[in-house]
Structure formats: structure tokens, C-alpha cells
């Protein structure tokens, strides 16, 4: 692999050409920098700066890829398929934007909640882990190299395990859930690696576009089928597809509030993105659908998640846990969109990825504020908080409505797309199932609202509005829920371009451009 670049006259790159890597690099540097400086008061500003910088990068990338083109960046100057390639098209630019925007929005909230929940001496390391987690998630999304996906996945997962275990300052069960999360996450990641190994065996390459080229027309190759199975199951664990979800409720419930927000809003979304990328870009629709995998595996499990998880959520008495189960149910919607395998379905998945993310961010931040004031999220502890914490409770209302999919909220847009996709396939019974499952959402959301507004105030809770550092970000997220319920020009447009790129399979991963950077067509 040596040489190759030896005699080539190098064309100087502008700073803007580096955006794909800067996107990941900046939060990556922020983490050690915070530790290296070792000044506790600087940790948060550094993390903030890192998050904002990567948001700027992702916005520029999003704008650059909205026309359906893609940007290819060659790490170390090694051209793909040998070198590691970062490839940004509309699909991952959209997810990048989502992750970095969430990171920025939750930053002030994180400060407030970390101050309350984590002992001072751990703050620096906490923020370092937080940034590493974001780095990993961004990396998973941006990279075009299959093995690199694994590496970044583990960066984000390992830091997520640590972050979840930090909840042990509040409840010792955080430790055991972090341990369970670690076991299941590692098994999932290892399955994923096995899948990559099979792919490498069959194709001799790790570059996703190159793999896609080489496995075209090899639908009956057992090695590739095994690879697909391993990757799907492995990522299924990370996504928390319904029967593989066992780590999620505990992890969300006992993690510190800020971590729950981050995980709920971004971690599973990045994993879903990987599933999308592999099923559609790498394995290509023909392969995956010829084997009927998606129809017969993804859709039943998606339906199972939508109903079973929603039903479990209905019976919860803990707000945070209820939201965790609702997340599992909502993941079902996203999978369903994948299983529909048409443009509207995939658009629905992409747009729900975004909408659910902001909705859950708003809700979990509200939960964080409730924890701060009441000490716990059990329904009987947050009873009547609607009067003493009107701002926080209003966020719960907005987020809850968005979760149900009431018009005027972001959740409505994604539900609409999903039902429309079902009708386009002529599956009216599926449309009825989708709306029926959202009736369950009505029940579990309304239980909380009743508790918040109609109950008598619980004793022992502090009846005071959440601090601005918390209320601000959660209102940003809540207003985003409303905004994206009306203005879908960004979300739907980007989702559609992304879905188009994904659906065109190999064409979306066009032949590798030979220029060093800033490629595209």
C-alpha cells in the first residue's frame, strides 16, 4: 500500500475542504484538551466550543449536499478503496446535523444537570467522555469505511457506558445497567465486526462504496448473506430493535439526565443510520429485498416494537422509564419506514429520526428538570408539578403531543409520511395499525399530563421553576418540535434527498472520485 502519492503534485486544500474531518476532529480534540488543561471551570466551555464548531461544520456540509451530491475526504491522502474515506452525502449530512445540533442545544442543560448530579471532581472527565461520545457518533455517521464504523461505534459506546454508570451517584442501579449495556453493546459490536469480516472475505475491501460495487449481483452468495445477518443483528442490539432492547430502559432510566438526553436523541439514531447505510447502500435494495429479509423480519419486529413497547410504556409509573419504552416503540416506526422500502417510507424514517430526536430531547430535558426539583420521576413524586413548574410542564405537553403525533408538531409530520407510505403500498391495514399504535401513545402521554396538572402536589418536592440553563434548552427543543411541525422545508426536503440517495442503492455510492477531496458530481 506504500507509495502511490510519491510523485503526485499535491493540490493545496482549503480549510473548507476539511469539513468532513473537522466535524469529528473538533469534539475529539475537545475531550483531551479539557483533561489536559485540568481546569474544572474550563471543561464545559471547551465542550461547548467543540459542539458549536462541529455544528457549524455540519450546517455547511448539509447545505453543500442538499443537491444530491457528495463530498469525499481521503484520510492521510490515501485514496479509497485503500485508504479510509469520509463520505458525506445528504443522508449522513442530515444525521450529522441532527447530532451536532442536539449536542449544542443540550450543552447548557448538561451544565445545570451535571452540577446537580455529578460530584465536582468528576466533571472534567465527564465532559471529556461526553465529547468522546459525540465524536464517536459523528464518526460513525461520517465515515465511508466499514471497519471505521466499528471503531467509532465503540468509541461512542464505551464512553456511553461510562456516562451511564455516572448515574450511580443518584442510584446504584446505574452500575448494573451500565454493565448490562456494556455486555449487550459489546456483543452487538462484535457481531457487527463478524459481519464486516465476512464482507471483507467476500470482497477484499472495506470501503463501503467499493464493497457495494463488488457485491452487486452476488445475492446468492452465502458469505454475503451471513454478513448481512450478522450486521443486522449486531446493529439491532445497538438500535434496540424490540426484542433486543433490554439494555435500553435501564440505561435511560438510571443514567444522569444529561446523558439520557444525549443517548435518546442521538445514539440510537446514529445506529439506525448505520442500518440504513448498510441495508441500502452497501448491500443494496435488490439484494436485501430479493431475500425478503426486510419484509419478513424488519416489519414484524417493527410492529412488535410499536405495540409491545407502547403497551409496556402505558403501565409504567416512572416518567423516565415510560419515555424509554416509548423510544423503543418509536424506533419501531423508523424500522417500519425502512421495511416499506419506498421513497415515502424511507423519507418517513429519516424525518422521524430527526423529529423523534428533538421530541425526546425536549422530553428528557423536562424530565431532568423534574428530577432536579422533585428528586425522582415517579408519578407520585411529580404530581401537581404543572402548577409550580409551568415552563417545564408546558414542554412536557408539547413533547407529549409531538410523541402522539398531533398536528402542528414535528411528530405529526413523520406519522403522516409513514401512513402515506403505507397507503402508497396499498397497505391500508398497515395504516390502521400505525394510527392504532399512536393511540397507545395517547394513553401513556396523557397519564403523565394528568399527573402533572391534575394531581395534588406531592410532598417533599421543591416547587420552583427549573433554572434558566435547563428551561432554555428544553424550550429550544420544544419550539423546534412546533417549528418543524409547520416548516418542513428543511426536514422533509433533506429526508427526501437522503432517501432518494439511499434508495438508488449503488448509484448513491457512485464510483469513487479520484480527486483528493471535495469530490462529487
Amino acid at each position: 500500500m506504500a507509495g502511490g502519492t510519491e510523485a503526485v503534485a499535491h493540490q493545496a486544500l482549503e480549510m473548507t475542504d476539511h469539513l468532513p474531518v473537522l466535524q469529528v476532529l473538533i469534539p475529539f480534540i475537545a475531550a483531551p484538551l479539557a483533561v489536559f488543561l485540568g481546569v474544572r471551570s474550563l471543561a464545559w466551555p471547551i465542550a461547548c466550543a467543540g459542539a458549536i464548531a462541529s455544528l457549524v461544520c455540519s450546517v455547511v456540509l448539509m447545505l453543500a449536499t442538499l443537491d444530491g451530491s457528495f463530498i469525499s475526504y481521503h484520510l492521510g491522502g490515501w485514496a479509497p478503496p485503500y485508504g479510509i474515506e469520509y463520505r458525506v452525502d445528504a443522508a449522513n449530512a442530515f444525521v450529522l446535523l441532527l447530532i451536532s445540533a442536539t449536542a449544542v442545544v443540550v450543552m447548557p442543560f448538561t451544565k445545570a444537570s451535571v452540577d446537580a448530579e455529578i460530584p465536582k471532581k468528576d466533571h472534567t472527565l465527564f465532559y471529556a467522555c461526553f465529547m468522546l461520545c459525540i465524536t464517536g457518533l459523528l464518526g460513525v455517521v461520517v465515515t465511508g469505511d466499514a471497519f471505521n464504523v466499528f471503531v467509532f461505534l465503540e468509541i461512542s459506546s464505551l464512553s456511553a457506558y461510562v456516562l451511564v454508570s455516572q448515574g450511580s451517584h443518584r442510584d446504584r442501579r446505574a452500575l448494573t445497567v451500565a454493565y448490562d449495556y456494556l455486555l449487550m453493546g459489546t456483543i452487538g459490536a462484535t457481531f457487527f465486526v463478524i459481519g464486516i469480516g465476512f464482507l471483507y472475505m467476500a470482497t477484499g475491501t472495506l470501503n463501503m462504496a467499493d464493497i457495494a460495487d463488488r457485491i452487486a449481483g452476488q445475492g446468492d452468495n452465502r458469505t454475503i448473506q451471513a454478513a448481512f445477518a450478522f450486521i443486522l443483528v449486531g446493529m439491532g442490539l445497538k438500535v434496540a430493535i424490540y426484542p433486543l432492547h433490554l439494555w435500553l430502559p435501564g440505561a435511560y432510566n438510571y443514567a444522569p439526565s444529561a446523558v439520557t438526553v444525549l443517548l435518546a436523541a442521538t445514539a440510537t439514531k446514529a445506529a439506525i443510520y448505520v442500518v440504513l447505510r448498510f441495508t441500502f447502500s452497501v448491500f443494496q435494495p435488490e439484494f436485501t429485498f430479493d431475500t425478503n429479509v426486510l419484509y419478513w423480519i424488519i416489519i414484524p419486529f417493527a410492529l412488535l416494537a410499536m405495540f409491545a413497547a407502547s403497551l409496556i410504556a402505558v403501565f409504567q409509573t416512572n416518567f423516565k422509564r415510560m419515555l424509554a419504552y416509548s423510544s423503543i416503540a418509536q424506533i419501531g416506526y423508523m424500522l417500519l419506514g425502512i421495511g416499506f422500502f419506498n421513497l415515502s417510507g424511507l423519507t418517513a424514517t429519516m424525518v422521524h429520526l430527526f423529529n423523534h430526536s428533538i421530541t425526546k430531547a425536549a422530553l428528557f430535558m423536562a424530565v431532568g428538570a423534574l428530577v432536579l426539583r422533585s428528586g425522582s420521576t415517579f408519578y407520585d413524586r411529580i404530581r401537581g408539578m404543572g402548577k409550580s413548574m409551568p415552563l417545564t410542564s408546558a414542554v412536557v405537553v408539547i413533547g407529549g403531543l409531538s410523541l402522539i403525533g398531533i398536528p402542528g408538531t414535528a411528530g405529526f409530520v413523520s406519522k403522516w409520511m409513514l401512513v402515506q407510505a403505507a397507503f402508497e403500498l396499498g397497505w391500508w391495514w398497515m395504516a390502521l395499525l400505525i394510527v392504532a399504535s399512536s393511540l397507545l401513545a395517547v394513553i401513556y402521554v396523557w397519564r403523565v399530563l394528568e399527573v402533572l396538572y391534575l394531581g395534588d402536589t406531592a410532598e417533599g418536592a421543591q416547587h420552583k421553576e427549573a433554572p434558566m440553563m435547563m428551561a432554555g434548552p428544553m424550550w429550544v427543543a420544544a419550539l423546534a418540535c412546533i417549528w418543524f411541525g409547520f416548516d418542513t422545508s428543511l426536514t422533509l426536503e433533506a429526508s427526501r434527498v437522503a432517501a432518494n440517495g439511499l434508495l438508488s442503492g449503488n448509484a448513491g455510492m457512485a464510483p469513487v472520485p479520484t480527486t483528493a477531496a471535495g469530490g462529487g458530481h
Binding site: 401512513v419 409547520f486 416548516d487
Partner: protein, 489 residues
Amino acid sequence: MDVAVLVFLAILFPTLASVTNMAYRNNPNLRDSVTFVCAILAFACILGILNIVGSGISEEIVLTEVFEGLDIAFRVEPLGLLFAMVASGLWGITHVYAIGYMRGNNEKNHPRFFACFSIAIAAAVGIAFSANMLTLFLFYELLTVSTYPLVAHKGNAKAVYGARVYLAVLIGTSVALLLTAVIWTYTLTGTLDFVQGGILAGKVEGRIVPILLGLYAFGIGKAALMPFHKWLPSAMVAPTPVSALLHAVAVVKAGVFTMLKVGVYIFGIELLADTGASEWLMWVAAYSIITASIVAIMHDNLKRRLAYSTVSQLGYITLGMALATKMGILGGGLHIAMHALGKITLFMCAGAIYVATRKTEISQMTGLGQTMPVTFAAFGIGALSIIGLPPLGGSWSKWALIVGAADAGQLIAIFALMLSSILNVAYLLPVVAKGAFLKSDDNPCKGVREAPLFCCLPPAITAVGCLALFFWGGMLLDFLQPVVGDGHG
């Protein structure tokens, strides 16, 4: 002023009232007077729109595009204008009444109550002016959500249970059935605009038409078509102003208004008439009318009896749509206004009786008419209007509906309307008769006086309104003509 500006203002003023109520939660007089001023201004805006548009149809006012070819947009047309006038016009009157009622009863949480109340009005006006089904659905759900806290206002177990039923039926039907129908329509036609003659014409055929109509008819839970009527009696746990304005006017009328809109602008009368798709709906509506009337007779609780009466009366309007004749639609549209005025009078009287005597059961009201003459007079006029006797407004709409049924050749519909009128007499007039003409032996009204002015003046005004509408009935009928196509506007 521009129509667009006026439409926005008409929605903005109630919103403003809501904000004021939340912001100045500790200054009741300021809150109430600002709300009242907003009510007047909102009504003035709608009159302004009437002045400009008349019985014509305005341009579309687009706010934002949500889905491809699907906007959040407003458009003024006669049916909507009529509904908006009724809702916002009665808001001011009800507000006066609500002040009296809430203060007289020492209810709690006034700011929340009035804020939600105003939002509900904004939603109703939004529904009235919606240019397409998406916008209408948006405000429809907003109306449900904003009225939920009003139903659950008392916060006790009974109120919470009632509110749960309320929400479960309304959200359940709209999310499960109506939304499905809306998206189905959109997938079939690529648009949801309210277009004269319907958008589904030529796009669907065969069995899909009745199925889709069924999804709409039952999906619009606010129209209280049996068997999805249960929410309306449940909602009677709410304070009476809510029952009066929202559950006799804004909410239920939003339901039947949507029903008419769907019939006229989504399906189109011709499609319905040609395919006969709505015939089954007519049977359901007729069943709903008769059954609800019979149930009403059996209830002793005045508000519950009125609620079932509303269920029955809403059936009239659905029936009008299901007849799929021009006169049926016009009668339905007219009945929105007529029934609104009559029923709000009855509810406000019921509330006034409660404020003055704390009585809710009809059997306890014997002889009350002696001490509360104004209230009972208003109640009598309202009841007669609901029954449909001239010279009161209600007679016009009933007449139009019967003509419509005759046009459609549906004897059964005529029979249902007639039978229901008799039943109306049976459940409404005894209240008046007992109250005004009987004397109670144990004299339960000892020490009772007429309800406070704030409580008995508004029903008196609306009762006069019922009377006035009789003389304006023909004018209203002309006003609505463009809805069914052969207008002059």
C-alpha cells in the same frame, strides 16, 4: 382592511386573550376585561370579513407549505363565515356569563380556565376559515387539546374520569380514523383543498366511497354520531360556560361543520348522490337522532338531558349532509346557527339555575320559575326554538331539512325528523312546565332569588337572538346558497 389581515386578527385576538390570562394571572379584573375586549374585537373582525367577502369565496391565504401541495392556509367561504360568526359572536356573551358563573361558584384556576377557553375559540375560528383538510385537522386537534383542561377543570375523580372519556373518544377517533381518511384522500388525490364539487369526484369509485365516508363520519368524533357520542355527556362535568359555548356551540359545531365541509368540498354532493354512498350514513344519523332523544327523556340531570339533546340535534346536521341534496346541506348549515343559539340559551339557563340554587336535577326544579322568571322564560324560548316552532329560528332549519329529505325521496328521514320533534317536546317542555307552572309542595326554592345579572342577562340575549333569527332565516338561507353551487356571490 385586507381579508387576510382580518382572518389573522380574528385568530390572533383570542390567542392574545389567552396570553393575557396566563401573564396577568393575579389581576382578575384586567384579565376579564381584556378578554372581553378581545371577544368584541374578534367578532368585529369577522363582521369586517363578512362586509368584504359577503357570501362569496375569498382568495386562499397561505401560511406555509407543510407537505407537497399541502399548505396551512385559510379561505373564507359562507359556511365557515357563518360558523365563525356564531362561535365568536357567542364568545363575548358567554364570557360575561362565565365571569358571573366562575365567580359566583368560587371555582379555582381562573387563569387556566380562561386561557384555555380563549385558545379553544381561536381554534374554532381556525376551523371555520380552513382552506384545506390539513389546516382543519390541525385546528380540530388544537380544539380537542385546549378543551381537555376545561372538562377536567374541577380536578376531582369524576371530572378526571369524564375528561378521560372525552379525550379518549375525541383523540381516538380523530387520530385513528379521521387522520387515516385524510391521508388516504391525500394519497388518492394529491390535494386536500376544499374545492367546490369535491376533490374525490372521479378519483374513487365502488366500495371505497362508503368506506372512506365512514372513516370521515366516525372519525369526526366531535359530530357525536352514535356510537361515538359518549364524550359529550362525559364533558358535562365541566363548568357550565364550557358546556354552553364549547359543547353546545364551538366543539360540536366544529364537528358537524367539518362533516358538512367533507360532504360538500371533499366528496361533493354529486359524488355522494350518484354513488349512494351516504345512504347508510343517513340511517346511522336517523338512528342517532331518535335514540339520543329517547335517552334524553330518561335523564333527570338537566345538563345530561341537554347533552343528549345535542347529540340528537347534531344528528340532524349529519343527516342533512348524508341526504346529499342541496336543501339538505343548506338545512344542515342553517341548523348550525339555529341550534347553537337555542342550545346555548338552554345551557346558560341550566348554569344560572345551578348558580342560584345549586340544583342539577330536573325533578328538584319544580316551582323555580316563580322566583327565576327571566331564566325560565329564556329557557322556554330556547326550548321552543330547538323543537322548531315558529316564530323561532329553529323552525327554518328543520323546514329546510325536511325539504331536503323530500328532495332526496327519503321518507324515513322525514319520519325521523318528525318523530324527533315530538320527542323534543317530550324532554324539553316538562322542564319549563314544571318550573313555571307547578308549585312544589315542600317549596325547595325558599330563599332563592333570580340568578346574578351576569348569569341571567346572557341567556336572555341569546333567547332574543333565537327570535330574531326567525326573521333573518330566509336571508341566511340565501347567504349559504353559494356553498352548494348556485349562488349569486
